[in-house]
Amino acid sequence: MSVATQVKCPFCYAYGPARRGPEQECDDCLRRWTPVPTREGAAFSISGRPCRVTAAVNNTVLPPRHGFAHESFRHPDLARLRRKYRLGRIASGINAEFDRQLALRDWVCAAWAAGQPSVPFPPLVHEDHVDRMLTLARREGRAYFCTYKAMASVELASAFGWTARLVNIMKHMVHEIWSNDYNKWVLHDSLYNMHYERDHLPLSAREIREEHHRNGARGVRAVWGRGRRDLGPAHCADFAWYVVYMHNNFFDFPPGDHIHPLLMPRDRWNRNGHWRQGVQITRRRGDKYLCKGMVVEESDPRQLDYKINQTEVFLLQREGALWARFQHNMPNYGALMTRTDGHAWTTHRNCRKAEVLWPLRAGTSTLEARCVNSAGVPGPLSVIAVRSAR
């Protein structure tokens, strides 16, 4: 089913064919409504008043094809970690979320060295846990290599109310954190205290891979530390192939448990290719990860970098007035926040039931909506501005 040409029901979020005429009916819940367009430039009228959408950032919720098992931000181990390591101090005094995420990465980088004396390879992730790693590093000078750094970073991100996912590129483990500031996944390397940027925009693993295949990652820069120091052109060959671990509930299910799926790009860059490592290369047999049996192959960039923390606004007309309804896809959802014309925020515990009457004033009116997760972290803001004549 292509959702592009379909109409989404603002009550039950089911897709269906658009009907002729202004009124729509949902084939699933049978409710009827008269939608009002939310795209920039769209014109409509309410009780005979001509209106126009003058600005719109509507963070639409696309149906995901692949599920992800999220850590609960209320997990007792997270509260313990926050207390024991006084994690609140790491990003205190830093306002921008992305800068806070860089502060966490710098802290993880400085928490132990990847060198000697090291843990064995391959990793014994089932025996290791961020608390144990931090303790042994501090007390015994224990070193842990990239896999452990990335795993610890994902666990610690949860302690801050950020959603992170483990990413294995070729010969190296890294992670991504969802950035509400940039409204995208951003790849982080907490071993080297680095991320990757193009035109000062931080990139995801998928974007780095695409840059590598398109042009040898010509425009990609390696960026270090809290101060985003430019280290020069990045070496991105290891991004030719990657998998995303589709869970981050590591306190109960350590990575590599053969239960949760792995998401792997399979597209024109690797259609008939093999990702082989070690003895697989010399024997010219086997495929890394595919042999595990739980790999999901995906070519759609929107599914590989599926967006989270989105709040979609639906506008509808009812009895001559303009109303708004909402849909979100925020893991660890806390509440929906809405406001009109810059007034005080209204909190809605149940996003699906929330309905906001939007009284348009003469001139420009604005409606803003975003969700906040159970750790108090707000998602990206959806904003719609409508100009109306008296």
Binding site: A113, P117, R139, F145, K171, M173, W224
Partner: protein
């Protein structure tokens, strides 16, 4: 993922000191894995001079780039970094870092990409 197994090309000369939380070292010697990169070395010296790594007073060392050319380098607080060609060296080289080096500073230095360069991996963890 990559282990910490060493490349046969690298000739390890030092054993890394075991550093624990609370330690403060006046000096630390860090080896390059296989080679160094001049642009990364310059960024490392620049970042160190800005205090982003920790309390570092001076850096001296010698290393070779992946084409085999050797360079010596030095920087002292308040001064400019100096990088110049040097006599050929056999090993991958090292940096000697002095200052008030605590656990976090030492970890940041050891994890800096400059010290993890190998031909087939570039950065290696």
């Amino acid at each position: 993922m990559s282990g910490t197994r060493q490349s046969p090309r690298c000739v390890p000369t030092d054993k890394d000191p075991v550093v624990v939380a609370g330690d403060i070292l006046p000096e630390l010697r860090v080896q390059f894995w296989d080679f160094m990169s001049l642009p990364l070395l310059r960024e490392f010296l620049h970042i160190a001079s800005r205090g982003d790594l920790g309390k570092i007073d001076s850096i001296t060392g010698v290393g070779r780039t992946d084409n085999g050319r050797a360079y010596s380098f030095r920087w002292k607080r308040g001064g400019h970094a100096l990088v110049r060609k040097s006599a050929p060296i056999q090993n991958a080289g090292h940096a000697r870092i002095a200052g008030r080096l605590d656990f976090e500073t030492i970890n940041r230095i050891r994890n800096f990409p400059l010290f993890h360069l190998r031909p087939e991996f570039r950065y290696v963890g």
